[in-house]
Amino acid sequence: MEIFGVPIQAMMGQLLIGLINGSFYALLSLGLAVIFGLLNIINFTHGAQYMMGAFVAYLLLNLLGIGYWWALLIAPIVVGITGVVFERLMLSKLYKLDHLYGLLLTFGLALIIQGLFRHYYGSSGQPYAVPPELTGARNLGFMFLPNYRGWVVGASLVICLLTWYVIERTKLGAYLRSATENPSLVQAFGINVPRMITLTYGFGVGLAALAGVMAAPIYQVSPLMGTDLIIVVFAVVVIGGMGSIMGSIVTGFGLGLIEGLTKVFYPEASNTVIFVIMAVVLLVKPAGLFGTEK
């Protein structure tokens, strides 16, 4: 069976890959959007933290024999703690200054982290096996769905929606959002804003690390896995709207799908299509599709 001259197996296969990429875009851009929304800092280190998450999972397995499911829990916490330490010691000094300095600091840190990992592990990837419970594939009739891929898409959807719910619909989320608008007033009400900011940064970093753990069996664990991904994730965040949570989720999945479709019909443009969309959105609606003009 064919749609537009493309066999349906190929189309579905690419759409699935697009969805998987989209789930990583969504998870990572969610973390970035949360951090930017609250701290007004562009966290360039996000890609490196994603890579650290994957490496923690790899090290847990190879050094301590701790498997995937525990790594899903431990890696975000470990990397989140490093994020919290970094924020407390270095990043918080820059809040009063222009966005620019935070961006440059996180950029520098990303380079340092990547350089260190590349020094010890080289540029090629280390393998990480799919956990035994998730191996194999399911025949859905119109395509074969590898179980692990299905898990990745499903889990990221759940995590994204959970995060969105916490931020938009709970009291804690309300505190976070009000602290974004007017930190001094919220602090005057007695809420410990600096601590919330630190924990939010740690949470964003933890999300990146979680994405890294989930990515480990699909893409190899390599020090450079975050570098090219981070630029695409920036594009996703900008298109979705830099402070908007739902924006990053929808845009992440959406752009993953669009990229997958472009690969089917016009492969040469698949890398550029996201940036073309980003340029168009920036010119037409700079606040992003779901963002509000500040």
Binding site: H99, L100, L104, F107, G108, G115, E268, F275, A279, L282
Partner: protein, 265 residues
């Protein structure tokens, strides 16, 4: 500073010094935009790389002499600056940086696939040719003064731009754009001109670099090159005249000497 570069080849490896000069020119061009214009462009590598490819291609395939190749490449980079600047200037601050990044990525992926660039291999064995058809640039003895001349003229051009009525208005726009607007200056036009000048000089640096190394590759258009120039300018000092030169020198030196230790970042 000129004295240093005149004397240094006696002690330091000339190609290393030429590399510093090219990157210093690139950083100075970038500094024109960020230090004096207040605009962070995260896509400056597209100008460096485009000029590099254009110079390499014209010298190798079309047989241009070096000065024509460099002029042609600079013109290409300036043209690209006009087009991208017109698109990017519409937004400020972080959005400006993001647009330049997006445009630079598009250019990168275009060059990755375009046949004339040679993809991952790049354009290799670019002939240095004969300057004005007379002076053979093959050896460092003749190439070095040529590069030095280009560097000094580029630097003097930037210095002249900064210390001119145009430069003063640019600084005013950087400090307080609404005020400049209310005084009657067409800020968008000033910013665009600054962007185009910065793009052109970055292109000059890129074209010269391609001839010095006789290679034009994808590294020059990758976003990490944009990041490097940001680092150089930041390290040396944004908004100062000699800062970017020092920053470029520091980073190129560190890259050179730390490579042997196995660290590369």
């Amino acid at each position: 500073m000129a004295g240093f570069f005149i004397v240094a080849p006696a002690v330091l490896y000339p190609v290393f010094l030429m590399k510093i000069m090219c990157f210093a020119l690139f950083a100075c061009a970038f500094n024109l935009l960020i230090g004096f214009g207040g605009l962070l462009s995260f896509g400056h590598s597209m100008f460096l790389g485009t000029a590099g490819y254009m110079a390499a291609h014209s010298a190798k395939v079309w047989g241009f002499t070096p000065e024509l190749a460099i002029l042609f490449a600079t013109a290409c980079a300036t043209l690209m600056g006009v087009v991208t600047g017109a698109l990017a200037i519409r937004r400020q601050g972080i959005y400006f940086a993001m647009i330049t990044l997006a445009l630079s990525q598009m250019i990168f992926f275009f060059y990755l696939q375009a046949p004339f660039t040679g993809g991952e291999d790049g354009i290799q064995a670019v002939p240095r040719g004969k300057l004005f058809g007379l002076i053979d640039l093959g050896s460092p003895a003749t190439m070095y003064p040529f590069v030095f001349l280009i560097f000094i003229s580029g630097f003097l051009l930037i210095w002249r731009i900064i210390n001119s009525p145009f430069g003063q208005v640019l600084k005013a726009i950087r400090e307080n754009e609404p005020r400049a607007l209310s005084l009657g200056y067409d800020t968008d036009r000033y910013k665009l001109i600054a962007f185009v000048l910065s793009a052109g000089i970055a292109g000059l640096a890129g074209a010269t670099k391609a001839l010095v190394f006789q290679l034009a590759s994808l590294t020059d258009v990758h976003w990490s090159m944009s990041g490097e120039v940001v680092l150089m300018t930041l390290l040396g000092g944004m908004g100062t005249i000699f800062g970017p030169v020092l920053g470029a020198a520091a980073i190129v030196t560190m890259q050179n000497y730390l490579k042997s230790l196995g660290f590369s970042s």
